[in-house]
């Protein structure tokens, strides 16, 4: 696959450099697509979208293409009293969006804008101390992706002490499969995402 891509580059004269300006403009335009139904149907992914867009911009050394204050204000407005963040303003808290929030705030050097202690509390409360597994939210879905999210989040906040790491690992190991990969719960098929 790699080699055929290279030849096609030579053959078709496709770009050989990264068109950063265009990529930046594209990311900036994403919040303007209010005429598309799709924009509204994906409101629950708004916070995730900010993370993906901002990180891409940062990688291209264009972090200021999105205004820092606006980003921080938006992220903070997604935090609930229990510390968790929702996918958009008013959307229910979930561990996934909580990680995105932390990642965005750290990228913007603005962690203190949110209630960090509450975040730690929320993420820690997602762990089932018996099994070591993590739920996504109060509705109880268990998945090793949430283990990753919890550990990543608390690691960024330097608060791994808030959870039982050993138990967390035990649970993850139960999800190891015949092919060496890991699934979402014990017995589940290996998935690259886990």
């Amino acid at each position: 696959m790699e080699s055929s891509f290279m030849t096609s580059m030579e053959k078709t004269g496709r770009p050989s450099e990264l068109y950063i300006d265009l990529h930046v403009k594209y990311i900036q335009s994403l919040d303007t697509k209010k005429d598309d139904l799709e924009y509204w149907l994906t409101e629950h992914l708004r916070l995730s979208g900010v993370y993906w867009g901002l990180t891409a911009l940062d990688l291209m050394n264009n972090i200021d293409a999105l205004k820092r204050e606006d980003v921080v204000k938006y992220v903070v407005s997604c935090q609930h009293d229990n510390g968790g963040f929702g996918g958009h303003i008013g959307h229910d808290p979930h561990i996934s969006y909580t990680l995105y929030a932390v990642q965005i705030l750290i990228t913007e050097d603005s962690l203190e804008a949110a209630n960090v202690e509450k975040i730690v509390e929320y993420v820690a409360s997602r762990q089932d101390r018996q099994t070591g597994a993590f739920t996504g939210d109060e509705w109880g879905e268990i998945d090793t992706r949430f283990s990753y999210i919890a550990i990543s989040c608390l690691s960024l906040l330097k608060r791994l002490d808030a959870i039982d790491v050993k138990k967390a690992i035990e649970f993850i190991m139960l999800c190891k499969n015949f092919d060496g990969g890991f699934g979402s719960i014990p017995g589940a098929e290996s998935h690259a995402g886990q």
Binding site: L41, D179, G187
Partner: protein
């Protein structure tokens, strides 16, 4: 959306589309706003429920609305008088879910809600759920959500069904059906891998039944990979079925260096230290006393958490003791991967003679002690697939030989099959490991693996590096077999050959022009003074940090772009890194910046940064003088 071709419409068509879209947006946003208003006011009424139905039919990923819907349902059933009424509500809910599922067979939220319904309703019908999931898997045999849901339903059924053993068997047979329908049904093979051990346990097979079962498994797998040698599923299942022995970590040797007051511990695996290995000493009074000091691995300057093959302990105190003891326990180390373990408590000691002269380069060998708690070596019980069929070592060897023959047969029909070739490397290496061979026999295995790797490097362009590394491992093992021997105490472990630190021939090591891409176990080269690895494909010399006695190293004509790895090599006098990929003087300076040796000649011509005409060696001396200062 992905995959949709962009066709430029006419202005008229475009205008109509935009208007339609705008009205859809207005309607949708209206419903959502109304729903949120209800939610924020905690109004769990029929209108709210209808709003959630409208939203979720269009947008089943809107998780917050599912949450709200559940709150409404909970509120409703709490006011219901009869179980019948509650049941009815959930039936409707399940029907609704089926409709939404049709549009979105892979949405996590839909499955979550369905499970919640079944877990919450008074009397869930698990049998009908099983039927449903069968249909699901008929439609798409690879939908992992479907398989996951099936496992969930089965687990519920097995709780209420007294015939639980039968369920394992029927599920197992289900995977057989699915596999026979399509050999590349990865989900089915995966499921089978979970059920097979369970089946053996539940049905309490005797040895003969186990053998029959396993033989049938091998037959099934064989027909699968003979039918489609390119499909990974059967091969991966095959690898699992055959399995691998857990490797023992060995301590190759432990030494005490009185002049530098250091203990040197060489492992054959890159280990991390969870708990500092205990060092103790004895005086004439024969009271064991803890020795203060600090451990670090040779790979790191300061961070004690860094993994390494060789660990060095520097004593805080002077050599006023008679005996030195170091202890390592399995729980104090973390190995490089889960199939490699230290299996016993290790204790090494040495005696320091009082009239000992502090000569350079003398290492006192620390000898292993038999520990009373190690009366039985803490060895793993056999071994591969013992959860299905425990085998004696001899049976295991026969099994491997049989499978090697099977795969070689297929290779004759399909000489370019990457899977056949890679499987052979795995089988051959496993057979080599468990067979207890002499040097010549071991070398034959290595050579066969090397030949296969050469073929794979040609055939599998996407994974060349993997096979170059495997090849390098085999080559290195053959080349270093004269430096080590089987441990006399523990046959699964290796140690340095007796007196290796004193035998002059063991001080040189040459392995050139072999396309080596890595040095897998650099600690084996601990005692090497003169090294020649020229004309290979090494990309890093970080491994040199393990060769603490190194005086001369020839790494010319490789692919090195960094000079990290020489910091601790105090005795290094000559380093030849000609014709590599070093891009600047800075790289070389960085390599030596913390170096504490005396004087070292570094040969650098033929690297990208060298301008041959400009008197490069002179410039180098100037640069090095600066560093030395």
């Amino acid at each position: 959306m992905h995959g949709r071709k962009r066709v430029k419409p006419t202005a008229e068509v475009e205008k109509l589309r935009k208007e339609k879209e705008a009205s859809k947006i207005k309607e949708y946003n209206g419903i959502v706003a109304a729903c949120f208003e209800k939610k924020n006011k905690c109004e769990y009424d029929k209108e709210a429920f209808m709003l959630t139905t409208k939203i979720l039919s269009q947008n089943p990923d809107f998780y917050t609305i599912w949450n709200f819907r559940r709150l409404i349902l909970l509120n409703e059933i709490s006011s219901d008088s009869s179980e019948e009424e509650k049941q009815q509500k959930f039936y409707s809910e399940l029907l609704f879910l089926q409709e939404v599922f049709r549009l979105n067979p892979k949405s996590y939220w839909i499955f979550n809600h369905r499970r919640w319904c079944l877990d919450t309703m008074p009397d869930p019908d698990w049998k009908s759920e099983l039927d449903l999931v069968c249909k699901m898997l008929d439609m798409d045999a690879r939908n992992f959500h479907g398989w996951g849901y099936r496992r969930y339903v089965i687990s519920k059924l097995s709780c209420i069904d007294s015939d639980a053993i039968n369920i394992c068997r029927t599920e197992f047979d289900f995977t057989t059906t699915k596999i026979n329908q399509n050999f590349s049904n990865y989900s089915a093979w995966h499921q089978r891998s979970k059920l097979l051990p369970k089946l053996v346990k539940d049905e309490q097979f005797d040895d003969q039944e186990k053998k029959n079962l396993v033989n049938r498994e091998f037959e099934l797998v064989k027909s699968a990979f003979y039918t489609d040698p390119d499909d990974q599923s059967a091969w991966l299942y095959h690898w699992w079925l055959i399995g691998r022995e857990i490797r023992h970590i060995s301590i190759l040797g432990a030494y005490y260096d009185p002049q530098n007051r250091q203990i040197i511990l060489a492992f054959d695996d890159e280990v991390g230290m969870l708990v500092p290995f205990q060092v103790a000493c004895k005086n004439d009074t024969s009271q064991l006393k803890v020795v203060e000091g600090h451990w670090r691995s040779v790979s790191s300057d300061s961070d004690v958490r860094m993994h390494g093959f060789v660990w060095i302990f520097t004593l805080d105190m002077e050599n006023d003791f008679v005996e030195l003891v170091v202890t390592v326990r399995p729980e104090w180390i973390v190995s490089s991967h889960s199939e490699v373990k230290l299996f016993r408590n290790v204790q090494m000691n040495c005696h320091i003679g009082q009239s000992f002269k502090q000569e350079q380069d003398i290492l006192l060998l620390m000898s292993p002690q038999t520990l009373t708690e190690n009366t039985a070596i803490l060895s793993p019980s056999p071994r591969f697939r013992e959860d299905i069929l425990p085998m004696t070592m001899q049976e295991r060897i026969e099994c491997l030989k049989c499978e090697i023959a099977t795969v070689k047969e297929l290779l004759e029909i399909e000489p370019e099959s990457k899977w056949c070739l890679q499987t052979l490397t795995i089988l051959l290496r496993e057979l080599k490991y468990i067979s207890g061979l002499n040097a010549k026999e071991a070398m034959n295995f290595d050579e066969e693996v090397i030949t296969i790797c050469d073929q794979l490097i040609n055939l599998d362009k996407l994974r060349t590096k993997r096979f170059e590394d495997l090849r390098s491992k085999a080559i290195f093992e053959t080349a270093t077999s004269n430096l080590i021997q089987t441990s006399p105490d523990v046959p699964q472990e290796i140690v340095f050959k007796d007196n290796i630190s004193l035998i002059l021939e063991q001080f040189q090591f040459t392995l050139t022009s072999r396309n080596l891409t890595l040095i897998p176990t650099p600690s084996i080269l601990l005692h090497i003074r003169i090294l020649d690895l020229s004309h290979n494909k090494l990309t890093s010399i970080a491994f040199l940090s393990n060769l603490i006695h190194l005086q001369e190293a020839n790494i010319r004509n490789n692919c090195i772009s960094s000079v990290s790895g020489v910091n601790n090599l105090k005795f290094l006098r000559v380093l030849n890194i000609q014709s590599n990929l070093i891009e600047s003087w800075g790289v070389i300076k960085n390599g030596f910046v913390k170096w504490q040796g005396g004087e070292c000649k570094v040969y650098v011509s033929g690297n990208p940064f060298i301008d041959e005409a400009a008197g490069s060696e002179l410039k180098w001396e100037t640069e090095m003088n600066e560093v030395a200062r």
